[in-house]
Symmetry: C2
Subunit: 345 residues, 2 copies
C-alpha cells in the first residue's frame, strides 16, 4: 500500500483507506465526449502532435477536472508514445486507430532503440510538471503507460485487431522474440513511469487492455510477470508513488495479482463481480467498474449500475471508475448525474 | 448427466464417464479450412442456400469425419437460421458476416412471427435424419442453436459488432423489449432443439458466443436464465439427449452454471484454466479448450497446448475441443498432428 495522504481522497483510497464516498475519476475522462476537447484537438495537425505539445495536453488534462471535479487528473497522452520513442514508426489515422510499422522478425526488433528517446517523451514530463501546480490541492495526478503485452500486441500487428489474434499467433510462433520485446518494454516502461513520478505524478496506472485475450499460461508469462517487474522497479526508485494495474478482461485470473509486491490497486473491467474481486484480491484497493454503456444509456440503467458498484465495493478501499474508457457518444448530462449520485451516496 | 452409451465415446463422456483418451471434435470442424468444403460451398449461390440444402449440409457435416475420424459430427447450419425462420431478413455478405434487418423498437419485435416457420427449418431436420444412418456407428450426432442473448445481439444490431456493444446499449435502454425477444428465442430455440433431437441429434449444444461481454447481473439475466430455461424444456421432452452449454468468455462466472438442471456439459473457451473450471463446475463434463491460434501455429506451441488441455482436464470427464471455432487458415497437417497426439496420449 502507498502511504496515506489525507488531503487527497484518491491517494488515501490507494493507501487502503475505505471512504464513505469513494473518490472518482474516469478512464479517458479527457477526450472526445467533451466539446472543449474537440475544440483544442482540432488545432493540432495530428494526434501525436497533440500528445507532444504541453500547451494542449495540460489543457486537455484539466478540462474534465474543471467541468466535473474529479478526484484525479490523468496525464493526457497515449500508450503508443513508448514504441514511438523506441524508434518504431507510429501514426494515428482519423477514425481508424493507430498504425505502426509492424515488427515481423528479429531484424524488426533489432531496429528498435535499446532505450527510449527521452527527448521525445520530454513533453509528458513537462505536462506533469505544469499540472502539479495547476491542479486543485485535493486532486491527485496520475501518470501511466501501456503494459508490455498490450503495447507489444500493437507493435507486432501494427494496428488494433480483433482480440489481437495476430500478436497472439506471433507469440506462439516466436516466443523468444516476444520475450525479448517484452523485456525491452518492461525496462522502458518502468523508467518512463519513474520519470513521470519525478516530474509530478503521484500515482501511475499500467493499462493492460489486451490481457484478457491470453490463455492462462500466456497470461502469466506476458501479462502478470511483466507488470510485476515494472511495479517492482518503480517502487524501488519511487516508493512513495502508488501503482495501479489494470488487467482488462482478466476477471477469472485476478488472483494471480494477489500479493503482487508494489501494486497498490487493481483496476477492474465491467465483467468483474465486486464480491469476486474482493475475495480474489485480499490486500489491495479496487478501482472500477461501471459499464461505459450504462453511462451512455442513462436513466434507471445508469442509477442501478452506479448503486451496484457502490454497494459491491463498499467493504473495500475503492476508487469509483468505469470498467473501460468513457465513449465519445456519452452525454455530458449523464456524467453529471453520475457524479451527483456517487458524491451524494 | 445423460445416460451412458458405451459405443460412442463422446456420449459416454457427456454422461460423466472419464476416459483415458478423451473423445474429440472441433467447433466449426466443417468449414473453410477444408478444400473439400470450399469446393461444395462454391456450388451454392449463398450461404443460407447452402445451409438449407440437405445435399450440401449432409456432405459438409460428413467431410471432417471422413478426413479426421472425429468422435462427433455436428449439423452444418448457422445460429441465424432461427431469426430467419422467425421472419427477420437475414443474409450473409461474403467476407463481411451476417446482415439482418435490425430490430429497433416494439414494432420491429411485433413484426416477428410468434413461432418459427418450421418449413424453413425442415432442411436441418432432414439433414439430421440422413446423417443418422450415414455416420460410423461410434460417431455421435450433435444438433445446436445459438443462445438467446447471442442471437438477440445480432437481431438487434443487425450484424456482428465489437463486443456487441450496440445490443448491450439497447438492453440498457429497453430491457422490457429485450426480455420479450429473449423469451421468444427461448421458446423457439427449445422447440428447435427438441425437433432436432426427434430427427436424430443425440446431443445439442447451445452456443453463447457473446456471453462474456455482459456484466454480472446482465449475464445472469440474459445468459444464465435463458440457457437454463432451454435446457429444462429440452430435457422435459427429450430426457435421453445430452445438453452442452457454451458460455464463451464467461470464465469468471462459470459457477453460475453449477448444478444447472438439464445441462450435462459446459464448453470452455481458451481463457479458462482447467483447474478453475473443475472447481467451479463440480457435476458436469467439460469440453474444450485448445487455443485455435495454437492449432494454426503448430510445432511446440501446439504440442504444449494439447498436453496442457489433456493433463488439465484429466481429473474430469472431458471432450477435447478448441476454445473457439477452428480458423480458416488452419493447416490440415496441424489438425492431423493434433489428432495423433490426443489419440496417442
Amino acid at each position: 500500500m502507498a502511504s496515506a495522504s489525507s488531503s487527497k481522497p484518491f491517494l488515501a483510497a490507494l493507501a487502503g483507506e475505505r471512504q464513505a464516498k469513494p473518490p472518482v475519476w474516469l478512464m479517458r475522462q479527457a477526450g472526445r465526449y467533451l466539446p472543449e476537447y474537440r475544440e483544442i484537438r482540432a488545432r493540432a495537425p495530428s494526434f501525436l502532435d497533440f500528445c507532444y505539445t504541453p500547451a494542449f495536453t495540460v489543457e486537455a488534462t484539466l478540462q474534465p477536472i474543471r467541468r466535473f471535479g474529479f478526484d484525479a487528473a490523468i496525464l493526457f497522452s497515449d500508450i503508443l508514445v513508448v514504441p514511438d520513442a523506441l524508434g518504431q514508426t507510429v501514426s494515428f489515422e482519423t477514425g481508424e486507430g493507430p498504425r505502426l510499422d509492424p515488427i515481423e522478425d528479429a531484424e524488426g526488433l533489432a531496429r528498435l532503440r535499446d532505450e527510449p528517446d527521452w527527448e521525445k517523451l520530454a513533453p509528458a514530463f513537462e505536462t506533469l510538471d505544469r499540472l502539479k501546480t495547476a491542479l486543485p490541492s485535493n486532486v491527485a495526478l496520475i501518470g501511466f503507460c501501456g503494459a508490455p503485452w498490450t503495447v507489444a500486441s500493437y507493435m507486432i500487428a501494427g494496428r488494433g485487431t480483433p482480440d489481437q489474434a495476430p500478436a497472439r499467433l506471433f507469440a506462439y510462433r516466436h516466443p523468444e522474440l516476444v520475450a525479448a520485446l517484452i523485456d525491452r518494454l518492461v525496462e522502458a516502461s518502468a523508467e518512463y513511469l519513474i520519470r513521470q513520478i519525478a516530474a509530478g505524478a503521484e500515482a501511475v496506472q499500467i493499462f493492460d487492455s489486451w490481457a484478457g485475450v491470453l490463455p492462462p499460461l500466456e497470461f502469466e508469462r506476458w501479462c502478470v510477470a511483466p507488470v510485476a517487474a515494472i511495479a517492482a522497479k518503480v517502487k524501488a526508485k519511487a516508493p512513495h508513488a502508488a501503482v495501479i494495474a489494470f488487467p482488462r478482461g482478466a476477471a477469472s485470473q485476478l488472483s494471480k495479482f494477489a500479493g503482487m509486491k508494489g501494486v497498490d490497486a487493481i483496476g477492474l473491467d465491467t465483467a468483474v463481480e465486486p464480491a469476486a474481486a474482493i475475495a480474489a484480491l485480499p490486500d489491495v484497493a479496487l478501482q472500477g467498474n461501471l459499464d461505459p454503456l450504462a453511462l451512455i444509456a442513462g436513466g434507471a440503467a445508469l442509477d442501478e449500475g452506479i448503486d451496484r458498484v457502490l454497494s459491491g465495493f463498499a467493504p473495500r478501499a475503492h476508487v469509483f471508475n468505469l470498467g473501460h474508457g468513457i465513449l465519445p457518444q456519452t452525454p455530458i448530462a449523464h456524467v453529471e448525474r453520475m457524479m451527483a449520485r456517487v458524491r451524494g451516496a
